[in-house]
């Protein structure tokens, strides 16, 4: 029975990992067409098509695209926010899977077990994600765009999700008896996952 449960956990973890790595692989596909053979940045019409007509009249030497020279940054605030967000979702999934099922309701509470540790780590990662997001994406959200704006929704759902998970952890950790907290935690995790997807 134990072996079967462990196997189930392993498969579930593998499925979660697969689901999260899917987008990474998806990024490697190149759906774009090759550059047009007729692309001519120096053409007069190109210069005139520029929004700034005054500039376009004097612009005679437009730099070629620097795409070949570009080397993506290995680390940035945006990437940190992204990694922390995905880590939070993975930790939340792990906490969900390791939720204990005591057969005896009067059994002593395990407040420092795997589930508890993972839940606390999830909240820490969620807070770190929010801090990194505010610092690196401060100009992506604006109240004038309304709450349907993807970045504004991302912030609302992300912060609410983190707050719900923190509340769930606090509720359980500060109770001497077993207390129902799964609903808040799962709702919070779902909020964060949807928040990630909206801007993924």
């Amino acid at each position: 029975m134990v072996l079967r449960l462990n196997l189930q956990k392993f498969i579930a973890n593998a499925m979660l990992a697969l689901a999260f790595t899917g987008p990474v692989f998806a990024e490697t596909f190149d759906f774009t067409l090759p550059e047009s053979r007729f692309y001519a940045q120096e053409a007069k019409s190109f210069l005139i098509a520029a929004n700034d007509v005054e500039t376009s009249k004097v612009a005679t030497n437009i730099a070629p695209s620097s795409q070949e020279e570009f080397k993506p940054k290995l680390f940035s605030g945006s990437k940190l926010h992204q990694y922390l967000g995905v880590s939070t979702a993975v930790l939340a999934g792990a906490a969900f899977i390791t939720h204990p099922h005591p057969t005896d309701p009067n059994a002593p509470r395990e407040t420092n077990g795997t589930h508890a540790q993972l839940a606390k780590a999830t909240v820490v990662a969620a807070v770190a994600t929010i801090v990194a997001g505010v610092l690196s994406h401060w100009d992506d959200f604006s109240l004038e765009d309304g709450w349907t704006d993807p970045d504004n929704l991302h912030v609302i759902l992300g912060v609410t999700g983190a707050a719900l998970m923190a509340y769930a952890v606090d509720k359980s950790a500060n109770s001497s008896t077993a207390v129902e907290h799964a609903r808040e935690a799962e709702l919070g995790a779902l909020g964060m996952i949807v928040a990630i997807k909206l801007t993924w």
Partner: protein
């Protein structure tokens, strides 16, 4: 435990089974694991060749339908920002239909959604640089970095700084401003 395991299996199955499906609806846009943060890149050869023969072939997701409706007409193209960009009727139809089908308000890609929202309650912008969201994203750039920069000249040359613009990627991490190697967003 069993119900949780079944839930995870079902969730993973749904995610994996739609990996090859492009987002056609809001639900699919939420579920698909494909990244939809940016703009749909130009994937129409005729659009790419015709528009790209004179300037960067702007992905249609950078403007809403109402803007493309104004720009891509037989009346508007003879004076396309001061130049004659007339097209024969068949070519214009292909380009017009492609632009309309992939306009910002028809896309679930994040930046297109933001552009659609920013242009929802205003007159159709004819220039991408008139879009409130685009303006906000570039407001920190000084004049000398754009107009005064001999390798940029104008914000309309997207691909002068956005190194992955042809792939529809406009992320700050892919920006490289010519003559300003140390610039950070």
């Amino acid at each position: 435990m069993k119900s949780k395991f079944q839930f995870i299996m079902l969730f993973a199955l749904v995610v994996i089974s739609i990996e090859t499906v492009a987002a056609q609806s809001l639900l699919e846009a939420i579920i698909t694991p494909f990244r939809q943060k940016e703009i749909v890149p130009v994937d129409n050869k005729q659009y790419q060749d015709e528009c790209g023969s004179c300037h960067f072939a702007y992905p249609p997701g950078l403007l809403p339908t109402k803007s493309w409706e104004k720009l891509l007409t037989t009346e508007a193209l003879p004076n396309h920002f001061g130049d004659n960009a007339e097209l024969d009727a068949d070519t214009l139809k292909v380009i017009h239909d492609y632009a309309i089908a992939n306009a910002a308000d028809k896309s679930y890609y994040k930046r297109s959604r933001k552009i659609a929202i920013a242009t929802e309650k205003v007159d159709a912008p004819l220039r991408i640089t008139e879009v409130r969201y685009i303006k906000r994203k570039h407001h920190e750039l000084s004049e000398k970095m754009v107009k005064g920069n001999k390798d940029v000249k104008s914000l309309s040359y997207c691909d002068a700084c956005h190194t992955q613009a042809s792939k529809g990627v406009f992320d700050a991490d892919t920006v490289k401003i010519p003559n300003y190697p140390d610039w950070e967003d």
